[in-house]
Symmetry: C2
Subunit: 524 residues, 2 copies
């Protein structure tokens, strides 16, 4: 009896809940590594932990260790909590490496999230901390059928609506597969018995007509949109969409690459964002841990000995002398890009791991416009348009729909070489370029543009990059060395996870780290 | 030169905005029949219009005619505005045909929408009235990848996650098409030049591996979910999903029928719902038109003569004698199911049309539970689960995510024979059955159930059905006759539209009707 057959039998006998539990107990399904806050039972007997970094990993660790009875102190480089969990709002000032300072001029209530902006439903850890901290969330639209997909090399540079490209592509390939099915060319792969259902299913997937053709008509228009949609009263009959895009045209355009943008686990609906900006989570953590966090502490040295750890820091805003704090243990969440430059006395394997991981280039550009023209003129409510222009994509605000007043777009979100190029420009030039490029998608840009900010992550002084970019090879060589406890020192953060670049990586990494640390303390 | 070539040339020369305008001017694209409120220029010189029904159609008409200078009065059967735009909340009392009375016991803030519950982004009319009336909206989740698809006849009756079924289906069919492509079996249909892109695209659509196979591994797990998802720290490596569902199993299960639930124009993201319930729109209209609407007026006769119309009504709550009101014109939005029983003196063709349209059977069941277990236990945030059980589907609330306290599910949404069967039961029996069936999907039902309400539309005294179910044949025969102005009488509502069962049909029908009426008045 196969495992599936066993499960079906259990299911048939005992109802779905039993079957689900049976599957869970057999290790077949697990939605998340997060199963609630860690249970740190046992008395730490006054042990102290110094946490470096008040980002998500550091603050999750601080909160849980505090709750478990540890003496906790957090040293943070910035003057705010959150780290990459960060929203830039009107009135905020940000100085990057090299000294360029941006004064954000967004209207009240508007913001851009330079770092993470999404909370996938299956990132149970970060969502649970948001809930516990009283941070309200609202849905994030990953996939908007009425947003654009755009190639400068296709359709005369005219943006296409996502709904047209997905519908036409799926229509054509479903028709192709229907044809070969009917021609008997799948005989060795699909049983006679399944053939009729396969054809039925392809008709549904592809919006094919009764004869399994993808053609202008009711079915295709109901998916891609109408030439003239149905209405009310006289003269209300719909006119079907006539100009279906050919398969060859879609394939050559490359726009099919956007299909399935909402299908991978981290982008599947339902996705969330905090009401008021991602930074609300970091801010809430900061309030919760107000008496534990010391701000404006630049760590320059971490040394451990048999008795404890000594951490040396300077206040970057003053000329004050270095100061030293001590604790029994040190949990370090400083990004490896920065940590590799700090004086550490740790084992060579861990040091090699810290030195090995390159950091991703990424840049986000927030543009304020005088009105929400994407909604008012183009009926795009949230979601993302994709383009082969250097800006990569345009993200529309997923909040305050249909409201009057100004609005802030994510006017560019770049990785790799384009991010490098843009980060090399002065901030005002990045914004200017984003407006120029974006005007190829939204003609309203030049007239409606108001002001903008641009965060290039390689110039962010406290991260020097966006997130750790592990390869399979690097992981095999270094990952386990990075995550071990080295006497009294250990690390946590998205860089110490298999969910790089996501806050869930930081949360699960922190929980794993403190759970192991606690085990060591209790059994010391 | 083809039209597409012309457009591409225009686009290349002049930029996207010009091209879009060119397309619009050539009549190639139109998103909606609604282009803002009607412009009713010209003086109606004190003409009066009596509107029957304070549903969406009647109130759109009343607001615009009032704004254009008409004397307007609205007669409404119910003691509230909105018609099928309706939210039932705790404390509400509803008596259906036959006398069964339900007292809704939902907690404060919780509701069910027995009628419409969605506002598609392309229903510009109803969305614009919501905006003008100050009704805030929030996203509705049509497609939730973590919700269930369920067949009593497959997988031992165990609900499957939508993400698993869509991923496995698209994986298998993409692999099939890849195979025949590689075997040269598409040679007559796909050019050699396009073959490589087709294979690339199928790999993306189907989450295939490098050799175009749909197999357990990183690609398929990133879509369908993992056996053990990635985490942070040590032992954080993901374990890929091993038990992919076979194509034959999916085809036999029928669960593929749910794929594409979010792909048709009315279900594509972004979809909205009013914050606090759909009824917020009707209520806002009611406040806006407070001095125009008379409630508890049951119209029994509409007669017109050369000078005007005489409408006779009774107050169903009293034994009062019939009363008559007069006006120059009458716009009637009463559902045809009811209107066909009212004494009218109209032309036989219009009367035949009114008599011809059957009304859909539909029922919605709202169930309050003691906690939001679908979120807390199963991580389903909004959206819909589909089942072949008589309840048809389960709809999860798209609001107040992650909040503690009770929650209301749409515990059943049935059309056709199942709706008939459920409507024939007493309300408490409908609710009981919905809980019994739903327990096959959510084992928590029996323990967590609190109370419920059930609205069977054929027993709603003021509609006797859910909406007009036109067939193509009926439309050919009767639709234009229904929509004409018969001297001083004309109709509006979803039944006088090509968008049956949607509020947008009511809005566009009303605007078309009053625009033609106004033209007649001005030129009289």
């Amino acid at each position: 009896m196969s495992r599936r057959e066993l499960l079906m039998m259990i299911g048939a006998m005992a109802g779905s809940a039993t079957s689900y539990n049976a599957m869970a107990s057999m290790g077949l399904v697990e939605e998340s590594r997060f199963n609630g806050p860690p249970k740190l039972d046992g008395d730490p007997k006054g042990a102290s932990v110094l946490i470096l970094g008040a980002g998500i990993a550091g603050m999750v660790a601080a909160m849980e260790l505090r709750n478990a009875g540890y003496k906790v102190k957090v040293l943070e480089y910035n003057s705010r909590a959150g780290g990459r969990n960060w929203s830039i709002r009107g009135g905020d000032v940000y100085t990057e490496l090299g000294g360029a300072t941006q004064h954000c001029e967004f209207d009240k209530g508007l913001y851009i999230n330079p770092g993470p902006w999404r909370l996938p439903y299956n990132h149970h850890g970060i969502l649970d901390y948001a809930r516990r901290l009283g941070v309200r969330v609202e849905p994030f639209q990953q996939l908007n059928f009425n947003a654009y997909v755009h190639s400068t090399q296709a359709f005369g540079g005219k943006p296409q609506r996502y709904r047209e490209i997905q519908t036409d592509y799926l229509g054509h390939v479903s028709e192709l597969l229907s044809k070969v099915t009917q021609q008997g060319k799948l005989n060795e792969m699909v049983s006679k018995e399944d053939e009729a259902s396969l054809l039925d299913s392809l008709r549904r997937i592809g919006a094919l007509d009764r004869r399994y053709r993808y053609v202008p008509g009711r079915e295709s228009s109901n998916r891609r949109g109408f030439q003239k949609p149905p209405g009310g009263g006289l003269d209300a009959r719909p006119i079907y969409s006539k100009d279906l895009t050919g398969l060859s045209e879609i394939l050559k355009s490359g726009l099919w690459r956007s299909i399935g943008a909402g299908w991978s686990t981290e982008f599947q609906s339902t996705i969330f964002e905090p009401v008021g900006g991602m930074g609300k989570i970091g801010e809430a953590f900061g309030r919760e841990l107000a008496d534990l966090i010391e701000y404006e502490r630049k760590v320059v040295k971490v040394h451990q000995n048999r008795k404890g750890v000594e951490v040396t820091y300077v206040d970057p805003k003053t000329d004050g002398n270095p100061r030293t704090v001590t604790a029994d243990y040190c949990l370090c969440t400083i990004p490896l890009s920065v940590l590799s430059q700090i004086d550490l006395n740790i084992n060579p394997k861990m040091q090699a791991a810290i030195n090995a991981v390159p950091y991703a280039a990424a840049i986000k550009i927030g543009l304020q416009f005088k009105r929400r023209f994407w909604e008012q003129d183009e009926h795009i409510y949230g979601g993302i348009s994709y383009t082969d222009l250097p800006i990569g994509s345009i993200g529309y605000p997923n909040t305050d729909y249909f409201q009057p007043g100004k609005g802030v777009l994510l006017g560019g979100y770049m990785f790799g070489p384009n991010a490098m190029k843009f980060t090399a420009m002065p901030p005002e030039e990045r914004v200017k370029k984003a407006v120029e490029y974006g005007a190829q998608i939204h003609a309203q840009y030049p007239q409606e543009f108001d002001n903008g900010v641009a965060v290039g992550w390689h110039r962010v002084p406290w991260t020097l990059g966006c997130f750790g970019t592990w390869t399979d090879e690097l992981r095999a060589q270094h990952y386990d060395d990075l995550c071990q406890i080295d006497h009294r020192f250990l690390v946590a953060g998205e860089h110490a996870s298999y969910i790089p670049g996501w806050q869930e990586g930081a949360v699960t990494s922190a929980i794993d780290a403190i759970t192991r640390l606690h085990h060591k303390v209790i059994n010391a």
